[in-house]
């Protein structure tokens, strides 16, 4: 076990032409914590996510993930699928991206692609149904069943993902990400569109992932109920810059954050901007 943070961003910058979406952002997510990334719309939260998970190549800066055994990976150099495959960083999407025509169970089996691919001898052993592959497939089904039970989807296991209600689809996406056995789970607005009861259930689920697995969580969320309830550390972004970070209680009372979210009087803006250094 190392004490290195699970994720550290150093001077991460992402520029789209003239638009500076993320501006020299540095942040650390502690191992085993739930770290929340919040900020008003357009603050650059999802861009940070896309950089971490390799969907964007950052303009500059480094992204480092350190595994439990101390092995470190530089994510800014890896293509997206390798980040999930080798570094075990999984993500969900703001607008749900399931495989709608495949059943819930199949969705979770696809998530275990790389494990099964090796077990099937890159298709060759699997084609002839060798016992090694069959065993691996049974284990994969067991893992899928475990996460279906944890997300209360076991009764819908054989239904197409596209036919599930919205809240169930959100849970299934988290279950699918967990089936890749991630060290870091990046959730992009997991509570969006959930009703209060469902978002309470989400809190329970995320807390149990934190306590019972070795997965750390990085979370973008607008639902303050979820953020304040479950996160250990909150980072606030505005216009691509970090304007504050700390415990939920600290953030709740931070004038800069309130200013960024709610806006303030003219003179207060100047004061805050001077503080932040804009």
């Amino acid at each position: 076990m190392t004490n290195e943070p699970i994720l550290s961003l150093t001077n991460l910058t992402m520029r789209f032409g003239g638009l500076l979406a993320v501006d020299t952002l540095s942040l650390h997510a502690k191992r085993g914590d739930i770290t929340a990334l919040i900020g008003p719309n357009g603050a650059g939260k999802t861009t940070v996510f896309n950089c971490i998970t390799g969907f964007y190549e950052p303009t500059s800066g480094t992204i480092r993930v350190t595994h439990d055994d101390g092995k470190a990976f530089a994510l800014e150099k890896l293509p997206d699928f390798k980040i999930a495959q080798r570094v075990h960083v999984a993500r969900t999407f703001q607008n749900i991206r399931l495989f709608p025509g495949m059943t819930a169970l199949e969705n979770l089996m696809v998530a275990q692609h790389n494990t099964l691919m090796v077990a099937s001898g890159f298709t060759l052993f699997g084609l002839f149904g060798l016992p090694g592959y069959r065993k691996a497939e049974r284990e994969a089904i067991e893992l899928a069943r475990h996460w279906l039970e944890r997300t209360a989807l076991i009764d819908r296991a054989d239904d197409p993902a596209g036919s599930l209600p919205y809240g169930a689809q959100r849970r299934l996406e988290i279950a699918r990400a967990m089936c890749t056995k991630p060290v870091l789970l990046c959730l992009d607005e997991p509570a969006a569109g959930l009703n209060p009861r469902e978002s309470d259930e989400l809190n329970t689920l995320l807390r149990s992932i934190k306590n019972e697995t070795r997965t750390s969580i990085l979370l973008i969320e607008h639902d303050m109920n979820v953020v304040m309830e479950i996160s250990d550390h909150v980072v606030v972004l505005d216009h691509g810059k970090k304007i504050s970070e700390g415990t939920p209680d600290f953030i709740r009372n931070d004038q800069k954050v309130i200013a960024a979210y709610l806006g303030v009087e003219e003179d207060a803006v100047d004061k805050v901007e001077a503080e932040v250094g804009l």
Partner: protein, 473 residues
């Protein structure tokens, strides 16, 4: 009930009124166009009335318009009554299943009694029905295919058509991997068919190796071309992918046409070695097939052998596809069709996944091509034109993308109907077009438009097509 009748009456009246108006307009239009003809055969020019022609034209418009508006205004009701009828038939059939079977056997018995005692036909019919009742449609189709040469041994024409059908079934199954499973629209599939055929022809001619050695080589060459096509199109999706694959198909054909020193250009390659029975040639010589097995020489032996070869090749394609669907690579193909970005977020190497789909699809195309070459004995670039690609793609789309049995049925229907309408050469494409329009209207996602999950916990439910993506890249 009376309200319903009144409603129906009003619908009919409405349709009648509509048809009457159309009839009047048609009469006004046709009275001068068709009603009279200028005739000067007997004396001076004068108009000759043609009342029968006029009445026929107006009548067609009237009846046609009546039916169209009746169906159009009453589509829901019509569908309802058809549904009721169908449910009734299905329920009866289910309830009196054994009665139905008995009736079939009685019918078969009657036929045996009265027909010229053609035991092969009887065998194939009885076996097909029995297997169909017990094991379902696919099994019946398989038994029918297995026994086909037994029943139609005396009819080489039927055997020839069956071989063509099976070739297209195989091509459809091969393309189904690329289009149906991976969702990559490939308009140049015939290129791989061509590569397979030419590889076989050239290798067999130059090295004198047997069919069974050349066949895998042809498949490997075609798979290589599949990867070759795959690389440049990895980043393309939808329409752009379709255009590039179409161009690829044409490039291969044009190269075959112009590289005269290698492929003999438009003259094609002739006298390709014929398939032998594992080294024993099909000829009347003393070392030939017939003499070896103590039979009388008959050219049909070769045809029957070819039939079983293509049947075996097609079944291998089918078996491999069914197995692959249940393996991680097959699931990745389907996931790719559903959502490529989600695939990447789960650590699936989409590049390799797409390339394997292209390569494996192309490999089966290559096998089919090699078979085509050995069956024909002659190949030229004319056999590998774009309409061929379109036909194979039509088979896949018509059958239901991703459905093995749907593709088999579609290939049979399309190819057999092409043979059937051979006498009406000029109307063939018109009928083909109408059939395609009809399918697009009534079954836009193909004959079999449900998907079977590859794995299940409690029960295997069919997945309705509305959830399944068609693939955009």
């Amino acid at each position: 009930m009376s309200a319903e009748i009144a409603e129906k009456r009003s619908v009919v009246l409405h349709a009648l009124k509509d048809a009457l108006i159309a009839g009047i307009v048609a009469f006004g239009l046709f009275i001068l166009l068709l009603g009279f003809i200028a005739d000067d055969s007997r004396g001076p020019l004068r108009p000759v009335p043609r009342p029968v022609l006029l009445a026929t034209a107006v009548g067609i418009v009237f009846v046609g318009r009546f039916l169209i508006s009746l169906i159009y205004y009453n589509a829901a009701a019509l569908r309802y009554y058809l549904g009721v009828l169908w449910t009734a038939i299905a329920t009866l059939a289910r309830r009196y299943k054994w009665l139905l079977v008995a009736a079939m056997f009685v019918a078969a018995a009657v036929w045996i009694f009265f027909s010229p005692k053609d035991w092969q036909l009887i065998l194939i019919t009885v076996a097909t029905i029995a297997v169909g009742v017990r094991f379902g449609f696919s099994a019946a189709l398989l038994v029918f295919a297995m026994l086909f040469p037994v029943a139609f041994y005396g009819n080489p024409y039927y055997l020839g058509v069956a071989i063509i059908i099976l070739t297209y079934v195989m091509l459809g199954w091969g393309l189904n991997i690329v289009v149906g499973l991976a969702g990559l629209l490939d308009l140049g599939y015939v290129a791989f068919y061509a590569v397979g055929a030419y590889s076989y022809a050239l290798i067999a001619q130059h090295y004198d190796w047997s069919f069974w050695v050349c066949l895998p080589l042809a498949g490997i060459f075609a798979a290589f071309f599949g990867v070759l096509l795959g690389f440049p199109v990895l980043r393309l999706r939808g329409d752009y992918l379709a255009i590039v694959t179409l161009a690829f198909g044409e490039i291969v054909r044009i190269v075959l046409l112009n590289w005269v020193s290698f492929t003999n250009g438009p003259n094609g390659i002739g006298s390709i070695p014929r398939a032998s029975f594992f080294g024993i040639p099909f000829n009347p010589e003393p070392n030939g097939f017939a003499a070896t097995f103590g039979l009388e020489f008959d050219p049909t032996h070769r045809t029957v052998f070819l039939f079983y070869v293509i049947l075996a090749l097609a079944l291998i394609t089918n078996w491999v596809t069914i197995r692959l669907r249940k393996l991680p690579v097959g699931r990745a193909w389907e996931a790719l069709r559903e959502d490529e970005i989600a695939c990447r977020s789960l650590g699936i190497n989409t590049t390799n996944t797409k390339l394997t789909a292209f390569a494996i699809g192309a490999m089966f195309g290559g096998f089919a091509g090699a078979f085509f070459a050995t069956r024909q004995g002659f190949i030229s670039p004319d056999s590998f034109t774009f309409p061929e690609s379109a036909l194979i793609l039509a088979i896949v789309v018509l059958g239901g993308m991703g459905s093995q049995i749907g593709v088999a049925v579609a290939a049979t229907v399309m190819t057999a109907s092409f043979e059937l309408f051979r006498e009406f050469e000029q109307f063939r494409l018109v009928i083909f077009g109408f059939a395609m329009v009809g399918i697009m209207v009534w079954r836009p996602r193909g004959l079999v438009s449900t998907r079977y999950p590859t794995v299940y916990l409690k029960e295997r439910k069919t997945i309705s097509v509305e959830h399944v993506a068609e693939g955009r890249g």
